[in-house]
Amino acid sequence: MAGRRITTAGLLTRRQQTHNSINGARHETSHHDAGRRCLIFFHDRYGGECPSRLSDSSIDYVIPFDPGGESDVTARFQEPILEDILDVSVNVVHRPGGGGAVAWSEFQNSAEPDGYEIIGVNIPHIIGQPIQRSDAGFDTDDWEIITFFHSTPNALIVPADSPFETLDDLVEYARDNPETVTLGGSGTYSANHLDMLRLEQEADVELTYIPFTGTGPLPGALEGGHVTGVFNYTMLGVQMDDSVRVLAVASEERVPALPDVPTFQEEGYDIVGGAYRGVAAPAGTPDEIVEVLADAFAEANERITDEQEPLGFVMEYISGDEIDDVIDMLAEAYGPILEEAE
């Protein structure tokens, strides 16, 4: 059994792995040492007073989705930069399940408000799930959202050989043939689904939404012609640019990676929406700490713009009071649709 046990110790959890690789052996970090690191992190704001958790000097950055997804890839970009700025190690921890709800409910129930535990949050998930589910286990507001660092606007995408050349073509066809246009998307009452429902309302047509589990299966659905088109994020349009046509994007301005694609507003439909990704700290985390973290994420954003923009991400710098504005705006846009659906 010896071989087996050695490797297990080496493997324990990815969290510890990352930790070891960055920080040297975890157990060698003395309490004194940890305290000193903490001081560096909070020195300016607290005048040397370290609020809590002397024993652990690393930030747990929980990703409530599987590794490999957009949230994870972004966190991987941010991780080394955050470590550089804050001078603490940052561990990306995955806690997938229930479209994010499992991690969010656990976080709101048990995370310590000391700035060392943060979690990825996504709009509209955090707005939609508490309305949709009686037992989502978390509230839209029960935390301190640090920042939203990027958004991925929705986009209406059809295969390259589709008869629909423009958004108008598709809308006209849908008007004559209610419910026959099938649009795939990621998840139910997700950003994709909600904005498709808004398109139905705005254009006064009936479409059929086919939910898929995540973005993964959508390229296949497009290539195989299993749906008329998909209502997904701009990134898919960028990724598949030689085999699809993007009819419109749901952003206020055109997306840098897709300069030729009109916005829905240009086409006469007032639809601005998509997924916003950000991070939150537990409710009760001191404002100073939230600010330090918000600044760090903004700095990280600056440094990864060149890598993320070509993929179709739109960099955002939403923090402080703007956070409530964004949530209110989207809650207002989606709320009635969600309530109606229930």
């Binding site: 059994m1 490999g68 994870d72 086919i210 898929f212 299966p217």
Partner: protein, 512 residues
């Protein structure tokens, strides 16, 4: 061609070869531990690949992937516990062989089959990627429904003994698959107001619980190890050459299993979890002596292990050409590609062709590496399993199992679910309901549901919506295969029962 040579040259550096060697060995160890899956092996490795160049990172991931899928066979054979879901079928004949003292033979056969499977997968990926990718996208919701149904017909052959009990197991599995947020529609089901249950029952958690825990309880209850000591290795050890003769002496089985592995690998969502089961089933169906399967027939191991290693490179086809991850570990490789600014698609084979071909070839190298690493590892692990008394073995495995389960999603609830299912599984096994059909139901329940509901949604304006399920040739062919599968499973039983086929199973009836 020039690109291929260039890629080969970039692979033939000391650094690359060492990366592959280390990757395969690490993957093997991780894969051989129950609860630590290929997906997790890749996730653990991920942070280390950031500091590497794109090619080195991909080589490391490919090698670990190959090693861990193969490593699953070790525990499957030695302690009747699949290390990864893709080696479930390896337990059926591998463990009986081990109990007969032929563990080393079984391990060698698994190694040879894995090497062949790995190489075949790489060959498919190099030569046939574009046409196979086109086949992959033909599988829409309706087709996925039939694929799942086809998979469920396996229950008949997995339910050693009573068909009814097998189906009961399948139903339990499908019911378990409905816990949590529904795949289409998004409503929460069977959470009983307990938010953490929204995450549902993770396949691996159920797999570990249902396979490992009953095995441990049995070991503890009977007070003896997984393998009888008298079968001690070294005494009746078959030479590698002998085993090779058995494995390659029946090329039809090998070829068939590789083809099955490749076809299923490209179906997005079905992934490697089912490949080995389907290949095993077909090996048994076409065998002249189907009764010997499940009792230690080496062909069963060959079918299972060759097909699941084809899947490693095979599932890269939809990933590299279309960006569709065919199996869960592929999603991580997709993330790495994006991280290095590489977009799946034709560019990957032209503009960055050297890199892509280097990656593909490195998987071939990894497959070859399985031979020395695997044979050496097989000796070591086999010796350890046999020499370790059960009262050390049981707690050790239990520890690894609990740690592995926890680290899947960093969830204590998963550990509780694993233990609960494990204890339930022990008693179910006592009444003849085995783990394999339950796990199969769990894997396929969600796929079937999703395919069916999506098809019905798309057909909302049709007069007969369910006709959509048979709207094209592929779905009709699949439906016919399901019917055939059911027929070949049920007709012999019916004939036997009505007394029209006296010789069907002489060992059971014992009639003159």
């Amino acid at each position: 061609m020039e690109m291929l040579l260039q890629a080969l040259a970039s692979l033939m550096t000391f650094e690359s070869v060492i990366t592959v060697l280390v990757g395969v060995s690490a993957g093997l160890l991780i894969g051989s531990m129950p609860g630590l899956t290929a997906t997790m092996a890749l996730a653990v490795l991920l942070p280390f690949t950031f500091s590497m160049e794109a090619l080195q990172g991909l080589i490391a991931l490919g090698a670990v992937y190959m090693g861990s899928i193969y490593g699953g066979a070790f525990t499957a054979i030695l302690i009747n516990t699949p290390g990864t879901p893709s080696s479930i079928a390896t337990t059926f004949d591998g463990y009986p062989m081990a109990r007969q003292g032929k563990a080393f033979e079984a391990l060698t056969a698994a190694t040879l089959a894995s090497v062949v499977g790995g190489l075949v997968g790489v060959a498919f990926l190099l030569i046939l990627a574009p046409p196979l990718a086109r086949l992959a996208v033909a599988f829409g919701p309706a087709e996925m429904f039939w694929v799942a149904m086809l998979g469920l017909t396996l229950v008949a052959s997995l339910s050693s003994g009573s068909l009814l009990k097998g189906m009961l197991g399948g139903c339990i599995g499908m019911l378990l698959s409905t816990i949590g947020v529904s795949p289409v529609g998004g409503e929460t089901r069977f959470t009983f107001g307990f938010p953490p249950l929204q995450g549902g029952i993770e396949l691996i958690v159920a797999l570990i619980g249902l396979f490992v825990i009953p095995e441990l309880l049995t070991m503890a209850a009977e007070g003896k190890g997984a393998l009888p000591r008298e079968g001690d290795f070294g005494k009746r050890e078959a030479s590698i050459r002998q085993v090779a003769r058995t494995v390659f002496g029946k090329p039809v089985n090998l070829v068939r299993s590789c083809l099955i592995g490749q076809i299923i690998a490209i179906i997005p969502g079905a992934g490697g979890n089912v490949t080995s089961l389907v290949a095993y089933n077909e090996a048994r169906r076409f065998s002249k002596d189907p009764e010997s399967f499940g009792k230690g027939n080496v062909e069963g191991i060959v079918a299972s292990e060759s097909s699941n290693n084809v899947m490693v490179a095979g599932s890269m086809i939809p990933l590299l050409t279309l960006g569709i991850p065919g199996a869960p570990p592929d999603a991580i490789i997709l993330g790495v590609l994006l991280l290095h600014g590489l977009r799946p698609g034709l560019d990957l084979f032209t503009e960055t062709g050297v890199l892509t071909n280097g990656f593909i070839l490195s998987m071939g190298l990894a497959a070859l590496m399985l031979l020395p690493v695997g044979l050496l590892g097989a000796r070591l692990i086999h010796r350890i399993v046999i020499r370790t008394p059960y009262y050390f073995m049981v707690p050790c495995i239990a520890m690894v199992t609990i740690l592995g389960t926890f680290s899947l999603r960093n969830s204590l609830l998963d550990v509780a679910i694993m233990l609960t299912l494990g204890c339930a599984g022990y008693f179910l096994r006592l009444i003849g309901i085995y783990a394999a059909p339950i796990v199969l139901g769990l894997i396929l329940g969600g796929i079937a549901e999703q395919g069916y509901v999506q098809t019905m949604l798309a057909a909302v304006t049709d007069p007969f919506p369910w006709l959509r399920l048979l709207s094209n040739t592929l779905s009709k062919v699949l439906a016919a295969m399901v019917l055939l599968g059911v027929a070949t499973a049920l007709v012999p039983i019916w004939l036997q029962r009505s007394g029209r086929l006296d010789k069907a199973s002489p060992d059971k009836r014992g009639e003159p």
